[in-house]
Symmetry: C2
Subunit: 470 residues, 2 copies
């Protein structure tokens, strides 16, 4: 990809909504990669060469056809709230921004059809207003993130305690993708084929339409529970998620001192030693929930419920304390903080959490989200880590893996390293079909660039672009 | 309770909707106890002395006050579809029939308030029409049973694969009960107190109002899957219930030859060796469900889906093949058939089912309903038994208990023997408060009559009424 390639593509696309302003370029080339000091050190200079914002599917096709002809890389971008440098154009080239494709096309019972640039929030508000429904699950970046970025880069979130994760059968109904070939094809993908393009970081097709299942929208009651011991807090969140008759949308556990140190509006109601549980409970389940607490979690102190609050200042949505918003709030107070994403599952999950908590006391602050996996509640850990060095971070990762807790490493920018450290044959095969020149979001799928990679060290994309000296 | 007691009560209540016609009396004194040859032999002569059908709560109170004054027993009745002789007036006296209290009082998001005599079907139709909602769970006797009888006598049913059972926190929101005292009291019961009166067979209060949680109503897709091996059928129903993204309302497993021998409209599409799985799948989950089948249950043959059927005659609702309707259909073909209710749970549940299936081949025909218990799918067995003798039935029960499968014995008419064979202190305590004379549905709570009962043999109520020689 030379200057002249890029200039030619830019020229050919100049009638579209296209931007080459350096400030815009830099801003649209970044995401929340800086959560990770490891990625910050490696990706800070990454920058695309132009941003184009297609207004419809025809323009998406035109951009792909043109960039294919000129061998220009295309990295698609929703809102850029991803954490793994997912949306960052490692090789430069075209950043395709989906902001102009934000239409809600159809709402019906149990389903919604949208364009990829729709914000999660806008989908929810429209579905609620029109039909009393909402998305089954959302990212905690609900108010800023797009559905396209969520499907292509996210994993689950608020709602996963009930519905499992995005990758589970039935949690995405249909994805329409455009391939990057001489003549781009339009493909509607459903069922098992979904795994080929969902959570593929836009490496094997551009999503232009999405059909999602809907759940009923309730006036969810936001709840905070305070505990004196972490064990009680963890047990309560886990146990209530096992109550089939109590409808939850969120169950989070925050080890002390998270609530006191990082949750400003919660601080007046807790002490440094308080372990916090955050919940979203369906209003019709509140009575059952209180009965559960009385019977099974007598040590819980109900310090906040949004439907009957006497707090001087509202804490806002409880879900904006959860998932990666926990890290965000901590980071604002203590810039040394980063995080790890961990899977604690099976009968030993509580014991595993305790083992890690004890081992890294003061260095790792435990944060758990209860999520469902194959019919059972498990813990998705997004524990906060006080960063000292990459070597130490690797030690912490290794310690988790040793006891059987799987790490989804947010300090890596490739699909494989952020996932299960193995080739996803379905995604790789589909990339060969849909992106024969390997121009879509280059550097994110190791198996495409280096099929024999062994994961002994961090992958380093050889074609990583250095800031163009213009 | 003498003739003159009864005559006096009748006289005092004669301005109400009261009936003493012997045919009506006999009919309103029976339920589906005859499913059990054991109960049939013992309860066939049971008959009340008069039937009264209160039109509102004030009349319920009047009946209770009057019968209390005259020491007349009161056994409340919904539609009489219970299986344990639950609604049968063992000591005679007053049968209080709730047919005139069938109002739907309020439908709101997530909730409905109804009178106890409402049919489940009527609640669902009204909620669907007014708000696109329906009950979380229903009995397979949906079209004939009342909500009061379901709460007081039922356990769960269609919907339990998602929501657990009626007794779980949050699956009943509020019950209003009237006590049987000199001056009856009206009590609104919520939360943990619910366990005192729900599933108490009307032994400690008359329910006059019920508030239930609602779920979204979908055009559920009815599905039948055919399998050549029982193992595959059982595994498929169990596995699909573990898919958090696939919304189910029912997952039933019918061992061969159930489908061929007892399901007339299904028969043309199966052979004697076919093991059948019946499912209700949310329409938005059908794609995910088909993807699941392809990936995880390749031996399944999809022989019926209600949204795309080419069957000459519709089989009707799949749920009317499930739960105790399976037994009902079998009974119509083979009158020797009765059933057992069994809990197969834990990691060994499939192995337990297989052990019993092999041990009683040809004698017990396995029928499983997947239900949720504390966050995990388990099997509620309603296996059919070719009855030979009470002794043999007891042997079959014992064999199940030996391998750790709990039996809820439908061949007993008491709460304890149909349940966990132990005193429910909450129910007993509440009876002392609410029914000091012990006049409500006498003979159904052993701990009231004989606190030291040891469950070595079948309980026999000493005051069992013999047909009054008038
Ligand atoms: C504070 C915070 C909290 C978060 N909480 C959660 C959470 O709860 N759950 C969760 O899953 N994630 C979470 N994330 C990660 C991220 O916000 C979500 O995944 C979010 O939905 C991404 O949406 P986006 O529009 O910002 O996507 P982007 O970051 O712009 O893109 C994400 C990926 O999707 C690709 N992509 C975008 N649009 C398309 C398209 N149309 N076709 C093909 N590929 C496309 C991009 O190339 C990129 O690889 C969080 C991040 C932060 C910073
Ligand atoms: C074919 C068949 C299928 C069935 N399937 C299921 C199933 O799927 N799930 C299930 O749980 N059960 C099932 N049952 C059992 C039974 O049908 C249900 O429990 C049903 O809901 C009972 O309702 P009913 O109106 O017929 O109650 P009844 O049989 O009239 O009464 C049941 C009990 O409730 C008490 N009662 C009734 N009304 C009141 C009141 N207002 N206040 C206090 N107590 C009251 C009665 O005294 C009695 O003890 C089935 C039975 C049959 C015959």
């Amino acid at each position: 990809m030379t200057h002249s390639n890029i200039a030619a593509a830019c020229q050919a696309l100049s009638h579209l909504d296209l931007d080459t302003n350096p400030n815009v370029l830099r801003q649209k080339s970044r995401d929340f990669f800086w959560y990770s000091p490891v990625l910050k050190a490696r990706l800070d200079e990454v920058c695309g060469d132009f941003v184009v914002s297609p207004r419809n599917e025809a323009e998406v096709i035109e951009v792909l056809r043109t960039c294919y002809a000129h061998d220009v890389a295309v990295t698609v971008r929703g809102a850029g709230t991803g954490n793994y440098g997912q949306a960052m154009p490692l090789a430069g080239g075209c950043v395709m921004h989906m902001q102009n494709m934000a239409q809600i096309k159809e709402i019906s019972t149990g389903r919604v059809v949208v364009e990829p640039g729709c914000l999660l929030k806008d989908i929810d508000l429209a579905c609620r207003e029109e039909s009393g429904q909402e998305l089954r699950m959302i990212s905690s970046t609900w108010s800023t993130a797009t559905i396209g970025g969520y499907i292509a880069g996210g994993s689950g979130g608020i709602g996963s305690v009930h519905w499992g994760s995005l990758r589970d059968f039935g949690n995405i109904l249909r994805i329409r993708v455009i391939t990057m070939e001489k003549e781009p094809r339009v493909m509607d993908i459903t069922g098992a084929d979904m795994a080929r393009v969902s959570h593929a970081y836009g490496t094997n097709g551009i999503i232009t339409e999405i059909e999602m299942p809907l759940a009923p929208a309730y006036e969810w009651c936001d709840v905070f529970l305070a505990f004196d011991t972490f064990e009680d807090a963890m047990a309560c969140a886990d146990d209530v998620a096992h109550e089939d008759g109590i409808l939850l949308k969120l169950a989070s556990v925050f080890e002390a001192p998270t609530a006191h140190a990082y949750f400003k509006r919660v601080q007046p109601y807790v002490s440094a030693g308080t372990h916090l549980v955050g919940l979203m409970v369906a209003p019709q389940s509140m009575d059952g929930f209180l009965a559960f607490l009385e019977a099974n979690a007598p040590s819980a102190r109900l310090i906040y419920r949004s439907d009957q609050s006497d707090w001087a200042r509202s804490p806002g949505h409880v879900f904006e304390y959860s998932w990666n918003h926990t890290t965000l709030r901590a980071l604002k107070v203590d810039p040394s903080i980063t995080y790890l994403q961990i899977r604690f599952a099976g009968d030993e999950k509580r014991a595993q959490v305790e083992t890690m908590r004890r081992k890294f006391e003061g260095e790792v602050i435990t944060h758990l989200e209860v999520t469902r996996e194959h019919g059972r509640p498990i813990f998705t850990g997004l524990s906060m880590v006080k960063f000292t060095s990459e070597a130490r971070l690797d030690e912490i990762v290794a310690a988790h893996e040793e006891i059987g807790a799987m790490i989804f490493n947010p300090h890596r920018y490739t699909l494989e390293e952020g996932g299960r450290q193995s080739t996803d044959e379905r995604q790789l095969k589909f990339k060969a079909e849909a992106d024969p020149k390997g121009l879509l979001n280059p550097g994110k799928m190791i198996s495409w660039h280096d099929p024999d990679w062994t994961y002994d060290e961090m992958y380093s994309f050889p074609d990583m672009q250095q800031r163009r000296s213009s």
